[in-house]
Amino acid sequence: MSEIPDPSDVYFVIAAYNEGRAIEDVVRTCLAHYPHVVVVDDGSHDETLDAAVAAGAIGLRHTINLGQGAALQTGIDYALKAGASHIVTFDADGQHRIEDVAPMLEALVAAGAEICLGSRFLGGTVGMTKMRHMILKAAIIFTWLTAGLKLTDAHNGLRVMTKKAARLIRIRQNRMAHASEIIEEISRHKISYIEHPVTIVYTDYSRAKGQRVSNMINIVVELFMGRLTR
């Protein structure tokens, strides 16, 4: 696998919960470069699914809200079934730039790695608050301690992975703890990974939807309880 994959073999997986306002633009932007976009509507109460499908995405619907982690896993399962060679996870709120994906694919192939994680701290950020900066840095330390991987950005939704990596990683944490879990899975299966700089565009819309301090506590509790019951 040393060639850059054809865009038609790349599947975008977008988990969306009540993103009716933003999802259409995000889907259209992705479709302009890659033909397969899978949007998993995680039991939204708005027109997320219709908007995504109208924009040209394949729409999957969770009949009840299960959380972003569960939605990503559903989309990844679908993409693998559909024959994807590479899977891109992309956030629904428009904070990622499509321009970052092609260089990530190239870097992944060039390095011969199985997963490429976007890093906003290697790249740039537009409009990040101080508080968010601190939360994200704390998350990096947490990941380092629990998974043993020293990353520059532990909670970036932009990832490019091969189907091999996608098959190995199982997201069992339905809620927000999935970002840490993916990194733990990388560590557990010894999946070769690289980081690549990406630019995150913070808008008022995406800021309102991002991680909060209260969420951090939930994530730690989720991961801990997950270990107890696994």
């Binding site: 499908v53 040209g56 394949i58 999957l60 619907r61 969770h62 679908y78 997950g226 107890l228």
Partner: protein, 110 residues
């Protein structure tokens, strides 16, 4: 005296519930039965509860029961939590299977 009657009635209600649903209790059956019958016994002969407490280094029978109650409650909460996660995991698989098997495809082929 009224409290003894109330407690006995409550425990008898548990006993009735237990016998009606005994098939579901399985392994726990014997311990539940012992707890209910032991409870009724200690309600009417509280001196024995106190004697037992003294042997274990606790001042009063009522305190011993309270401590026991706390331990049992925590165990039950933990059990329920584990079960809830298991149910959630089954539910996730179910919802996922429905989602994957019923995709909404865009009108114009991509």
């Amino acid at each position: 005296m009224i409290i003894k009657l109330l407690l006995t009635l409550g425990l008898l209600a548990c006993l009735v519930y237990f016998f009606v649903n005994r098939a579901q209790f399985r392994l726990l059956a014997l311990s539940v039965l012992v707890m209910i019958l032991g409870g009724i016994y200690l309600v009417w002969v509280p001196e024995h509860a106190t004697a037992l407490a003294h042997q274990m280094g606790v001042g009063r029978g009522a305190d011993l029961l309270l401590y026991g109650w706390v331990i049992v409650s925590f165990a039950v909460i933990l059990m329920l939590h584990v079960r809830e996660r298991r149910i959630l995991s089954t539910l996730t698989e179910l919802v996922r299977a429905i989602a994957i098997n019923h995709p909404t495809l865009p009108k114009k082929a991509p």
